[in-house]
């Protein structure tokens, strides 16, 4: 049983690595989102020739500027898409860790009983703790990925009729990561690695 728990702890370490990669991606995503949203907010101002002041003496400046900004926006959207693919990759590998973990108890020839699952040795986590923890972590990241994907696609529809308050709300949603409550994540890791804390 103890060896089994060790194996699970190993899996949690892997999940932790994936999560630190997630954090890196998160800050990249936020900065890409901000660049895109500042361009989107500018688009309306750029469409009104009243706003060009002395630049009005330069023929075609409005069109040229808009074209350039749309090009930059397109580039940012492409990198946003790549970032989302990397998020998906993380969700995928957490899912695999979770699936492998379940396989270890359910797939083996000697399936542990409920009693064994809840057997606690010292401060070590029970098997049930491990299984639940992996599932919860996977669920969190999976739902958060779906949320981010829908926010990013909402951003591209906002390009056509931008609204500053909408952009702001979407940005806050991305920053908050409501599906990954920090304290809950921490408490899962606290249970799994209780012996390291003591």
């Amino acid at each position: 049983m103890e060896a089994m728990v060790k194996k699970y702890q190993q899996k949690f370490r892997k999940v932790r690595d994936e999560m630190s990669r997630w954090d890196e991606l998160q800050s990249r995503l936020i900065s890409q989102f901000n660049s895109a949203s500042s361009i989107i907010q500018r688009l309306q101002v750029l469409q009104d020739s009243k706003n060009y002041g002395s630049l009005n003496c330069v023929a075609g400046i409005g069109d040229g500027l808009l074209r350039k900004q749309l090009e930059s926006l397109e580039v940012i959207f492409l990198s946003l898409k790549r970032t989302m693919e990397e998020f998906h990759g993380i969700v995928f590998s957490i899912e695999k860790i979770h699936r492998d973990g379940r396989q270890q108890v359910k797939g083996g020839s000697n399936q542990p009983s409920v009693k064994q699952l809840q057997l606690r040795v010292g401060v070590k986590p029970t098997l049930a703790d491990c299984l639940d923890g992996l599932m919860v972590l996977y669920d969190m990241h999976h739902s958060e990925y779906l949320l981010k994907a829908s926010v990013v696609s909402a951003l591209s529809t906002l390009t056509l009729k931008p609204s500053a308050s909408d952009l702001c709300a979407l940005q806050q949603l991305l920053i908050d990561q409501p599906n990954i409550p920090k304290d809950e994540v921490q408490s899962i890791f606290d249970i799994i690695f209780a012996e390291e804390i003591c």
Binding site: R42, V45, L46, D48, K50, N51, Y52, G53, S54, L55, N56, C57, V58, A59, G60, I61, G64, L65, K68, Q69, S72
Partner: protein, 326 residues
């Protein structure tokens, strides 16, 4: 690449001749096959090489060295441009922010601070000082950009390699200046490296430099506007298109063909490939925030510089010269 029969000009090539590029001899030997590649075929064969083969053999390494130098100058000038442009952008942004804060100061809700004596006046003075600082910094970034572009212009005009001294002298020397009317400095239009003649190199360099020249002129308009933006003393700060922004500016602008001798003022800014006949608009000393935002965006967007094309030109030339120009 398979061995190709050598072109007549290469027949006398002395294998011991020190050449900056060992691969150049093998690549030039295949030049007859791909002669149609240069973008401007009209220049080819226009004036058959006046140089005897023995001179060509010496001219080529000198010309190669020169082209490499000029192109790497262009690369470093571009880097200088990028960094000056981006610091100019941040100075411009800070300037605009300080200006708007000062302008909104009278209507600002100061809360508990409103009890303090002269708080608005002091804050206003401070913001005014800040604007002066950022204006100075912006002007200095603009100066750096002018310097980058004039160096680019020089490099793009120094691509030819001329023979120095009498051609029958035993000692052959080369120079970047023409000493002889008959010497066009392009080795008779032969490819310098693999495919491209001097004039093809010049053409690409000019295309590149032209983008920066146009963008410089557009930025000049923005600098002018941002320098005239001011809350107090609108008359004091008023700048006109025909004013010199710093001593010697007009000399620099003439080098970039941005100064018109007829009107005795800088040529009006325009976009690449577009005519501009609109008269220069009188600037407004208190442009609204949207206008200022458009100015900053214009600075940032570099409408006249097609970054992809610039990278492409450097990549193509780098490949031609067997060096990496990035």
């Amino acid at each position: 690449m398979a061995e190709q029969p050598e072109t007549p000009t290469m027949e006398t090539l002395d294998p011991q001749t020190p050449s900056p590029s060992s691969s150049s001899s093998s690549s030039s030997s295949s030049s007859t096959v791909s002669y149609s590649k240069p973008p401007n075929p009209s220049f080819q064969n226009q004036n058959p090489s006046p140089m005897p083969p023995s001179l060509t053999r010496l001219w080529r390494p000198a010309a190669q060295r020169n082209l490499r130098n000029q192109w790497s100058k262009l690369v470093s000038c571009r880097k200088q441009w990028v960094s000056s442009s981006s610091s100019g952008k941040s100075h411009a942004t800070s300037l605009v922010n300080a200006h708007l804060s000062q302008r909104y100061l009278p209507s600002m809700e100061l809360g508990v601070l409103s009890d303090m004596l002269n708080i608005r006046k002091k804050a206003g003075r401070k913001l005014f000082k800040q604007q002066e600082t950022f204006q100075r910094k912006l002007l200095s970034s603009y100066k750096d950009m002018v310097a980058a572009v004039t160096q680019m212009v020089n490099a793009s005009k120094s691509m030819r390699t001329f023979l120095k001294g009498p051609s029958n002298s035993a000692l052959v020397q080369f120079s970047s200046f023409s000493g002889d009317q008959n010497d066009s400095g392009d080795g008779g239009g032969i490819p310098v490296f693999a495919f491209w003649s001097i004039s093809s190199h010049e053409q690409l360099a000019e295309e590149l430099v032209q983008m920066f020249i146009m963008e410089l002129n557009l930025k000049r308009l923005l600098v002018l506007e941002l320098l005239s933006t001011s809350c107090d003393n609108p008359q004091l700060n008023e700048l006109h298109w025909s004013d010199q922004l710093y001593p010697g500016e007009f000399d620099h602008l003439s080098m970039c063909n941005l100064f018109s001798q007829e009107t005795c003022e800088p040529v009006p800014p325009k976009l690449m490939d577009l005519k501009s006949d609109a008269p220069t608009v009188r600037s407004n000393n208190q442009p609204n925030p949207e206008v200022l935002q458009v100015y900053i965006t214009t600075w940032l967007a570099e409408v006249n510089i097609d970054t992809l094309r610039v990278d492409e030109i450097f990549a193509v030339i780098g490949e031609e010269m067997h060096v990496s120009l990035t």
